[in-house]
Symmetry: C3
Subunit: 440 residues, 3 copies
């Protein structure tokens, strides 16, 4: 059996993930363009992803891959000659996918193209206009209020031309062709929790799993949000049949409580596995019913696919004040939080890898555990660390109708204890695996 | 689609319903007799009901249509020569269905025929004796206590003879032969909330619907309680197969919170529709499980019929102190309350008329709503008032397994928003109606 | 119908059960040996049980019937020459199933064979070592602490030899071959609540039922815990198919609230019956989900049998401080508590004996109850004590899909009221029994 109990130097891993976030932070990503390419290049230094390029104009279901956007610089020159909202100082200053512009405008006209956050007057908002041509700048509300009347020069040195949508993919073959999907988005510019934390954690998971023998195959996608998952699904429709479990990885670097947004199915094995792990390892967490908004689970869970894909985060989509602002920066994300998230993901993998269904080979009355050294006798210290209650639960519920996760759920014991008990019983020939299982 | 958003001058309608209650209040109704006939006559001035007369002695399932009761006058003359408990002053004074009597009795003997309400010493109770021959009077408890010893003359000038049971019926043909039933009882004498409010609201609904194109056919019954519904069901058994939804209309004129007593089925579409409407429009309401007592839902929900018929009231059966007393009068019922009830019934009709099942024609990933003008872009005010979340919910759940009401229930959005979203998506050819539907 | 309303002089019965507890208290029972035989002999003075003897070495599923243990005496002689831990003074002093020993040991060595309860320094614990050869003594913690250094003489005059496992059984034939099982364990030495109270109550139930005409057959087992039920199941596998309901009887003599541990099935008819009775007769009780530990329900509910067997106690397994100590004595158990437990068991039998499924022969609308004397008329006192609501519920839900217990559950009425109503309706030919029923 796959066992994560082997020593993982998770403190080092927390720092390593944070280091990747830090390196990727300055890059201006979008749904297409060189920022994504540079990001994928950096990821491929750690794990052997393949990078795919899909040409602008390609039809992907109801959508069309857009023109590619690249930007060199952008700024505003005030009547006083000051250069503000400079892209090179903070890439959130430019409306993401802004068309090129270079002209002089009045303050009134300029204001129609400025975005601020009145409630957080020091922060710069993150705004996009992918599918409607527009130009614009994002600045702090304080700066907006300091602008004087007069003529402003606006300059966006960007290109929006036929090109490609880029995404990264890594597939690790396991014992079976059934797959576990981890999907993260790579389209946000200088934002740390959403989504660099997800990139870093996904990379680390892939790194960890690539050297291990696993039951399932694992697929890792590094894709632009929405259009990326739509593109991948459209071009890989046949592969979706193998996806048995999946998680959209995002917002895993802040200090919020864990949140799990269930798949559209609501009680898929991945939903049960994540909720079990959170229930046994956390001081409170948020269980969120599926809703058709958020991240790429929207596409994976569209009714034509209805994949068993949920989303496991710390603070969830839109539920933290720094969301989509310049405050989602290197201070919000911490190595410790990334490490905890990583451990939680590893626990979930532990559950799905080991969640099998067994049948009790001695189903009539209990077997005599004592003669097999599985039961503590009076005065004798127990010969094993196996929980007696876990042994009895596994024996009692291994009727072919309960997988180990169901036994853990019903008994209240941890999956790990249940699985250890099953392993001990297997080694005494008291259990036999049922292929297929009740949830297959 | 049927839409109630068209202006309804509901304030005028509240006054109109109250006017009908006021006109009908003085009439002495019972389960048979001229009081019912006069009531039906007045209703037929507003809506084209047909009046049915069923002969005494007719067998209706386990019951027999009783003899017809008519009354001219009734009173008691005290030893002091005072005329009390006079029918012409208040028709509750006589035990409803009292046999004729004219004799002199002692106070002791008289008391065996007097009914009072010790807890409400000023009120006159309402009592009946339909199936056991008896005579009696109902008076205030204060009056009872003021009676002196001596000889009393009792006089009930009534007839109990072979005749007919009268009821009114209106059928409005819709696009389909599937029917919605509204049933109210017309057998109570001077009682306003129970049941004149029900008569007024049913009349108003029929009036409103008679001029509209509806999906369902609508049937309105104005019947005496218990024996009336039994008679109708016995004589119209074949028609019951078409009844898809039904509501017993009563106690809709007082100021209590809304109450909905579910059908015996418990989660029939009408149950879900009413509970959804109450959940989205009220500050608290009572959800009552079916129980085999109350009004005519007892008969519609008997196991041999088990129709999807619930009962939507303000204060419910027996749950207000004025119930079956002279205090259920023109002060208890108000135009404003009738109006609110009417609006709630109209909302329910709106739900069942529009509750259809659709299939998403672009089920793989989300369709691109922006290019269809259904999605707000940055800086651009939304081109429609359609809720984006409602659009996404309808698309996500239109898999042929969810009708619009189920989508509203799961999403928490109002039925109206969900239905508007469905309409917008239909007009973009993104949805197709599934005939039959999951709940058909 | 079977009716327990007949006078039971339950106060006398409480004293009678307590008397049996008192008589059996001094006997040193174990899972085999003469203590069990003497106990069965005493029981057979009250009810005609047959005593079975199963030879040591017999294979019973995964187990082997152990050698028989018998003990004459046991004690320790202190360095001061005092005889302590004397078996004849309290049979808990010896480790149950202790092998014979007679030697001198130091205090240090002795301590490895002594068991005490530091949290209850005056009490003697109850300990066993059935399947691992060992010798030992149980004493109060105070006594342990008073022991001085020096040489101790230990003496256990016991035999552990090929012999038999003894158990008692009584089968009472009813109208049908479907059985109700009552099982109690007879292997504990001087412990009153666990398990003499169970022996006394089971004996009393058998005594009561043996003279009555019952629908079900009844089987009573007086067996040693674990190995006894395993033995019975192994030797009587074919009979288990007839067991429709069962209860493990134990801990029914203390003053705790009632506890019901459900069968593994969780909502078997016996589970519903017991929970209904407790819900209608107690001030609070504990409803416990099945878990694979406790008493013999562990074996009856092993997945190869999965019988509908729960356990109805006062304080439950291990949940009272006196459990498995010398404080589980004649003061803990009281006639009054035994009596209440007995009444509760009788109520449960009343439910399962009478829980049948009927079909309403007048399913279309209500039948006219008045003309059958089942409905109170105005002014006339009701001709029966039958609850009108119970009559209406039985009529409404007797559609072949609800047994009387289901009607009681849904209506909130007591089973007794529902059953009386059904009886009244049966006698009016308004109901017919459905053989089979929804839960058969």
């Amino acid at each position: 059996m796959y066992d994560t109990a082997e020593a993982l130097d998770v403190d080092v891993i927390g720092e390593q993930m944070y280091g990747l976030v830090k390196e990727l932070y300055p890059i201006c990503r979008s749904i297409t363009g060189n920022g994504v390419r540079h990001t994928l290049e950096r990821i491929s230094q750690q794990i052997p992803i393949s990078v795919h390029e899909v040409a602008s104009g390609t039809t992907v279901f109801d959508w069309t891959v857009p023109r590619e956007w690249n930007i060199k610089n952008a700024y505003i020159i005030t009547p006083e000659g000051e250069r503000i909202a400079e892209f090179r100082k903070h890439n959130l200053h430019v409306l993401n996918y802004s068309v090129p512009v270079h002209k002089k405008v009045t303050l009134d006209k300029l204001k129609q193209h400025l975005y601020t956050l009145p409630d957080h007057p020091d922060w710069i908002p993150y705004r996009t206009s992918y599918y409607k041509e527009a130009w614009g700048f994002c600045i702090s509300h304080n700066q907006l209020q300091s602008l004087s009347e007069g003529e402003y020069e606006v300059f966006v040195d960007a290109t929006l031309e036929a090109g490609h949508l880029s995404y990264g993919e890594l597939f690790i073959q396991g014992e079976t062709s059934e797959e576990v999907l981890f999907s993260c988005h790579v389209c946000h510019p200088s934002l740390c929790n959403d989504n660099l934390s997800g990139i870093a954690l996904t990379t680390q998971l892939a790194d960890y799993l690539s050297s291990r023998q696993m039951r399932y195959s694992y697929r890792f996608l590094f894709i632009p949000g929405t259009i990326g998952s739509i593109t991948w699904l459209a071009l890989n429709e046949g592969k979706t049949r193998n996806i048995k479990h999946g998680i959209v990885v995002t917002c895993v670097g802040d200090g919020g409580k864990f949140s799990y947004k269930k798949s559209r199915r609501g009680s898929a094995e991945i939903d049960r596995a994540v909720l079990h792990v959170l229930g046994h390892s956390c001081e409170g967490f948020h269980e969120i019913d599926f809703y058709p908004y958020g991240y790429d689970e929207r596409q994976y869970c569209s009714p034509g696919f209805n994949l068993a894909v949920g989303s496991l985060s710390r603070s969830s989509h839109g539920q933290f004040p720094e969301y989509h602002t310049s405050a989602d920066n290197l201070d919000l994300v911490k190595p410790q939080y990334l490490k905890e998230s990583y451990e939680t993901y590893i626990e979930v993998i532990e559950v799905i890898e080991n969640n099998k269904t067994y049948i009790n080979l001695n189903p009539k009355c209990e077997p005599q555990l004592g003669k097999r050294g599985l039961y503590s006798n009076v005065g004798a210290p127990s010969g094993s660390k196996i929980s007696e209650m876990a042994l009895l639960w596994v024996l009692n519920l291994s009727d072919g109708q309960h997988d180990l996760l169901a036994i853990a759920e019903r008994s209240g014991e941890s999956f790990r204890d249940i699985r250890n008990a099953a392993q001990a019983l297997l080694s005494c020939d008291l259990l036999k695996e049922v292929t297929g299982g009740p949830f297959a």
